[in-house]
């Protein structure tokens, strides 16, 4: 896979590249295997149907991975070497949902670029929101 480091200057208000994924139960199951988190709420539809969620939901860390990918796509190697991420999980992502991770530059100061980041589903419901920053100078 080819990856190119972007050379771009940013300013407050700039929108970041968006990442969009469609969740399926198969993808959630695959993440459960990779993460070792086999909570039945994520992988057992019959069990999950009896919970407050009414069905399976994706792992929060799976959805958060889309935000991390967004930051890698936008800032390249500066993300894994200096990234900071602070988010709250606000809603549940379900199989069939189309999840879009997006971000916007909030400020650039002291050599760090700070962005607000979020994930929303296809209805606009906020699943994750928070702030990401990284060293850019």
């Amino acid at each position: 896979m080819q990856r190119t480091e972007r050379v771009r200057s940013y300013q407050a208000g700039d929108e970041l590249t968006t990442i969009t994924k469609t969740l399926t139960q198969e993808k959630i199951n695959r993440y459960a295997d990779a993460s070792g988190d086999r909570n039945p709420l994520h992988i057992d539809p019959a069990f999950a149907a009896g919970t407050q969620f009414g069905g399976t939901i994706a792992h929060g860390m799976l959805v958060l991975a889309y935000v991390s990918e967004l930051m890698t796509a936008e800032f390249g190697g500066a993300w894994p070497s200096s990234g900071r991420l602070k988010v709250r999980f606000r809603g549940a992502a379900r199989p069939g949902d189309t999840v879009t991770a997006s971000g916007r530059v909030l400020r650039i100061e002291d050599g760090r670029t700070s962005c607000e980041v979020e994930c929303r589903n296809q209805t606009g419901e906020v699943l994750i929101s928070g702030e990401a920053s990284l060293r850019t100078l």
């Binding site: 993808k27 909570n39 860390m61 990918e69 991420l85 988010v87 999980f89 928070g130």
Partner: protein, 138 residues
């Protein structure tokens, strides 16, 4: 796995875990999160947090009805497949309010030379008295 996170007091330190980032696991994780932007041979940085949480769950089960409330991560060194990493975790905070426990678990990952790779904090909430596995979520 014999204990629940719910049984652990503030200050509890989990046993240090040392493991390799196998290429197969890196590929499995990258495929699972559909990451198309991580460089070849590198692992997505959030996978370090996932691995450290996985190591934690090997020592203590997620309590019944638990919800992953928030997550903080600070990256300082990217990981490569084949790296040997060391993960540590401790219960940094624990409080109770309106029948729910709010627990903060600090995570640290470093390479085998002791160079920090990631640290962070997972905050989970669960019923103060959990009865049966009802709706645990993360």
């Amino acid at each position: 796995m014999t204990v629940s996170l719910a049984d652990l007091p503030k200050g509890h330190e989990f046993a240090e875990t040392k493991f390799e980032l196998p290429p197969e696991w890196g590929a499995e994780y990258t495929a699972a999160v559909e990451d198309e932007n991580t460089a070849p041979d590198a692992v997505p940085p959030l996978s370090l947090a996932t691995l450290s949480i996985r190591a934690l769950f090997d020592q203590a089960a997620l309590p019944d009805g638990a919800i992953h409330v928030s997550q903080e991560v600070n990256f300082s060194l990217g990981g490569q497949t084949g790296d040997v990493i060391v993960a540590r975790a401790r219960v940094a905070s624990r409080g109770e309010r309106a029948g729910w426990v709010l627990m903060g678990v600090e995570l640290e990952v470093e390479d085998e030379t002791g160079t920090p790779m990631m640290n962070g904090r997972a905050t989970i909430s669960f019923p103060a008295v959990a009865e049966g596995r009802a709706d645990a979520a993360d």
